[in-house]
Each structure stands twice: as C-alpha cells, then as structure tokens.
Amino acid sequence: MITIVDYGASNLSSVAKAISHLGYSATVTSSPKEVAAAKVIVLPGVGAAGDTMSRLGSLGLIAPLVKAVREGKPFLGVCLGLQILFTSSEESGGLDCLNVLPGQVRRLPSSVKVPHIGWNQVRQKAPHDVFKGIPDEAHFYFVHSYYADPDDRSLVVGETEYGVRFASAVARGNLVATQFHPEKSGDWGLMFYRNFFRFAGVR
C-alpha cells in the first residue's frame, strides 16, 4: 500500500493521479498515525519550503516522516519533498528542515532565469533501479527556485545543469527523492514512478 502525504501541496492531486494511472492503489492522508503505519511513503511538494515545514509541523507529521526515513521505509520525495529532507534551506531567510540527509538547500544563481521552469536533462550519476529503462540524459519537468547541495556526494544519482550543476535525484537505501516532477514528465516520469514502486516492493 502506498501512502501519499497530504499537507496541502498543490501537486498532490497530480501525484495521486499519476500513481493511480499506473494501476496502484494509494491512500492520501494527513494523519500522523497513518503515516507512521505506512509501508511506502510518497511526499509531494511544490511552492515554498517555509510554508511546507510549518504545515507539516502543525499537522504533527514531522516526527513520523523522520522516523520513517530513519527506519529505512521506502520513501519517495518529490521537489520540495526532496529539499526538506536536508539540514536547512536558504529559503525565507534561512530555515531548518527535516535533517535526515546532511546538506544545504541553496538558491539557483542569478545568472539564469529563476524559477527554473521546463524540461531539462537528468544525467544518471550512479546506476539505480529507478532509472531502469530510462535513457541517460532523458528530459524531466522541473519547476523550482532552490536546489539541494548534499554534503555526501555519493547520494547523488541524478544531476542536472541550470546555472549550476545540481543534484536532481538523490538516493540512500530505500529513500529516493527527485527535484523534478515525475508526475509531469510524460512517459519517462511514469516509468520512474513504476520503477520506484517495484524497487519498493509494491505489487
């Protein structure tokens, strides 16, 4: 069973629709209990990190999410669902995040147009099941102004260039997180989701 965390992220319905289109059944919930009991967690997100952290906080979801990652539950973070896994973000003047992956979230450089909106390539830095069948440097859809800069570069499984070379996909154990939006990335995006759920042992 797949559990999609609902804290009001505006891409929640897109993520849920992509997953159901693939034929998986998923529960959408904002209950800390249900998140704690989840087998596989998907954390969507788009917009502002500060807003996201405060909503997760007021719903009591921070502790169960951190616990799930620490316990090694299969976990997929998308966009802000990647950024907030790190130690802290430059967004809104500095913000403490979930701190399950060491590293900072930084603003994209002013040499390029921000937000970074559109289809960009993901260079596969390390082989991973989530990329099975997806060509190296395939295009995925991005919408963001900040990017994660992990302390441990071995977490980086996908990289993208936009003013700076940044981690567009990270993985550690059963955790995978993407800066891009697989739910908006056409066929490769749907394949990415399917690959993740297979990797996570979802039937």
């Binding site: 505006s10 891409n11 319905s13 897109s14 629709k17 992509a18 289109h21 788009v46 917009g47 502002a48 002013s110 147009k113 921000v114 937000p115 970074h116 909106i117 559109g118 289809w119 960009n120 390539q121 295009h139 859809y141 991005f142 919408v143 963001h144 102004s145 260039e161 936009y162 739910e183 908006k184 990335s185 056409g186 995006g189 749907l190």
Partner: protein, 266 residues
C-alpha cells in the same frame, strides 16, 4: 540543458475546444481530453487551456475538463480565463491544473498575484499580458505603470476589449515583483495573422524580467517559432492555429528547431 518549450493553446468554451476542427485522426476534434492526449503523444511540452466561456455560470465546466485531462495527460497544464479570486485558483489547481494564468483580475487587483503566489507559490502564477502597440506618443493611465510618451505597448483586459492605460513592459516587471513566476505574453497586433510574433515586444519584456517568458500570437511558420526563441529571446512559444489546423506537427516544429541548434525535447 534546459529546453525551449512548444506549447499548444486550446481555447475552450462550454467544455469544447474551438478552432480545432481539422484533425483527421481524431474521432472528435473538439474534445479537450482527446486533443490534450493527442498533443501529449506528439511531444507537446506543456498545454495551455483558456476558458473563453462568456457567461460565468458555466465556468465549472472548465473544472471538469481539467479534472478529466489531468487523469490522462502527464505534462504540465496551465489554465486561464475568468479566474478572479484565490478560491477560483484553488478550485482549478485542485482539479489538476499546475499553473493558473491571470490577466484582467490581476490588472484590476494586483494583490491577487501576491495572494496567489503566497498560497500556491510563484511557479503556479502565470501573468497573461495582452499587449497592443501604442500609436504615436500616447499618454494614458495613472500611477507608476501609466503609458508615457516612451511606452510602446499597452495592456488590454477583458479578452482584448478594454485598453487599460498600463504600459505592458512596466506591468510585467511589477507583476514579477509581486510574485508572478512566468509571463504569457500575447501580441494583439500579431495574434491570428500568422505573420510572426512581435519580436520587439518579446525581447523588451524578456530582457527586464528574471522569469521565463512565453511568446504568443502570430505563429504562422516554423521560422516564426525560431525567431521568437532567438531574436525574441523567449523561453517558450505558444501557438494554436498552426498545430490545430495540422499545418505542422509538434514533432516537425521540434525537429526544425533542433536542426538549427535550439535545445528541444525530442
């Protein structure tokens, strides 16, 4: 590398796409879901739906259209037309839109941009600007956005019917300051003529805003798309007629651009 986007625009009224009548492959050319799927399969990078329904009591039909499309098409969807409030935005985003395009409501109430960006993030808020060239040295309007002798384009609202006395370039800058994450820039002079985008307008706006600009209005050939991206410095091109009437496929457009060194998603 970030690619330039090709975006077909679907005008919808009463739940049906208008203009799109010449697809032979489609059973129902006017069905928004089928047309969206068709363009998705062809490689469109994004879709824009504009609700051109005149009466506001039929606007909930658009919500149903977006709901259906987003269950089958997994590329970004922008929806505009008749959105007046943050609640309107939320309804259409909940239905499955990724971004909302606002024009008239933003001109009447610029705080709507701020409120929308605070609630949904700047990446959700597309400022649609309908701009028409100013004849001579017209001076109209009030405040810091007013047309002065040097203004070259004026913002129009209500589907192009209402001149506003607002300078289009200044308005784009102001809207980005308020939180717009993208500009959908339509030249009313060029729109429908298929003689090319207004490259000067595009460049003027693209150079002063730090967010992506989508060129719109005037595409009649593949060279026009190229010119908008290169000379017009646009980040994306929107077109309706050339795709709806089957003059060119999305794929043809992308191959043409790729052959000329423009990064596209093929």
């Amino acid at each position: 590398m970030l690619t330039k986007r090709i975006i077909p625009c679907l005008d919808v009224t009463g739940g049906r796409v208008v203009k799109g009548v010449s697809f032979v492959k489609l059973r129902d050319a006017g069905d928004p879901v089928e047309m969206a799927s068709f363009y998705d399969r062809e490689g469109a990078d994004e879709l824009v739906f504009l609700d051109i329904t005149a009466s506001s009591d039929k606007r909930n039909i658009m919500v149903e259209v977006v709901e259906k499309v987003s269950r089958q098409v997994f590329i970004p969807l922008t929806v505009g037309g008749g959105l007046r409030t943050v609640d309107d935005m939320r309804n259409i985003l909940n239905a499955g839109a990724d971004k909302v395009a606002i024009n008239t409501a933003a001109v009447l109430n610029p705080a709507l941009i701020e409120e929308g960006a605070a609630r949904f993030g700047s990446q959700c808020i597309v400022l649609a600007v309908d701009a028409r060239r100013v004849e001579g040295k017209a001076k109209r309007g009030k405040g810091k956005l007013a047309l002065t002798g040097g203004s070259r384009w004026e913002v129009h609202t209500y589907g192009g019917r209402q001149p506003t006395g607002v300078d289009a370039v200044k308005w784009a800058v102001e809207a980005v300051r308020l939180g717009a994450g993208e500009i959908l820039l339509t030249s009313m002079d060029a729109d429908g003529h298929q003689t090319g985008y207004d490259l000067e307008l595009n460049r003027a706006v693209s150079r002063v805003v730090g967010v992506p600009v989508i060129a719109s209005g005037g595409a009649g050939s593949l060279a026009h798309l190229y010119d908008a991206l290169v000379t017009g410095e646009a980040d994306a091109v929107l077109a309706a007629s050339i795709f709806h009437y089957g003059t060119y496929s999305i794929r043809q457009a992308k191959v043409y651009l790729a052959e000329r060194g423009i990064p596209v998603r093929l």
